[in-house]
């Protein structure tokens, strides 16, 4: 059985766009039948959340550095539809990994 994964959604000033991304990420996990816990925070809170929440990946609708130890994905494809399939694949890959 797949262990529960954790996703962190980091919002810029617009929490609403982050919420949209969080909903979409949950849908991806649900469709794949993989338990996923999603937490939302502001971009400034990310370093602390990486410590405490230990996400397997991060999705952001704002601007973030991508040289963190956790993979960071831009959430823009959820809003524009461009690159959405690719983003889904990348997320599914992490969800399906054993860890």
């Amino acid at each position: 059985m797949t262990k529960e994964k954790r996703a962190l959604v980091a919002c810029g000033t617009s929490i609403a766009t982050g919420t949209v991304a969080a909903v979409k990420v949950k849908e991806i996990a649900q469709e794949a039948g993989i338990p996923l816990k999603v937490s939302q925070c502001k971009i400034v809170e990310v370093p602390g959340k990486i410590e405490t929440f230990q996400p397997h990946f991060i999705v952001t609708t704002g601007t973030m550095p991508d040289n963190l130890e956790v993979p960071v994905f831009k959430g823009l494809p959820f809003l524009t539809g461009i690159g959405l399939d690719q983003l889904k694949e990348q997320i599914l890959e992490i969800l399906r990994a054993d860890d």
Partner: protein, 167 residues
Amino acid sequence: MDKTSKQPETEQPRVYEELVITPMRAESATDAITQLGARLQAGGFVKDSWTQATLERERTFATGLPIPEMGVAIPHTDAIHVLKPAIAVGVPDEPVEFGEMGSLDGQVPVRIICTLAMVRSESLATLLQRLIGMFQSPGVLTQIAGAQNPADIVAIFDQHLLSAPFE
């Protein structure tokens, strides 16, 4: 009389004819947001702080979406500046450059600007999901950009947004 507390009513954000500018003559994103903000204010939908707040928000968090069919921008700001929910729509006759959402320096040539005024922040996320579904439906953006008058644009948005009640 100033309402200092918000009633917990359900919001149904709509586009109203007086909130549509088509064709719009806009020199810049700032110009476009200011024009639409003026309409929202005149209609009693937002406080006079809305335009400034939205312009500032756009500077730090750009709302240009590079949708393949055509670029769309969704400027918005905090619920505290809003009195009644509404969407104002501007269709510029020439594309207007907006910053790309989530990018440090990307730019998007925008053909449709939808300024969103929501009284409750939670409802904004719901509205965004519906709008995104609508924008990604093939042909809808072309319809909006090609509409001859505000009433047609109101009808297109009504069709897509009024399908289910808003919480």
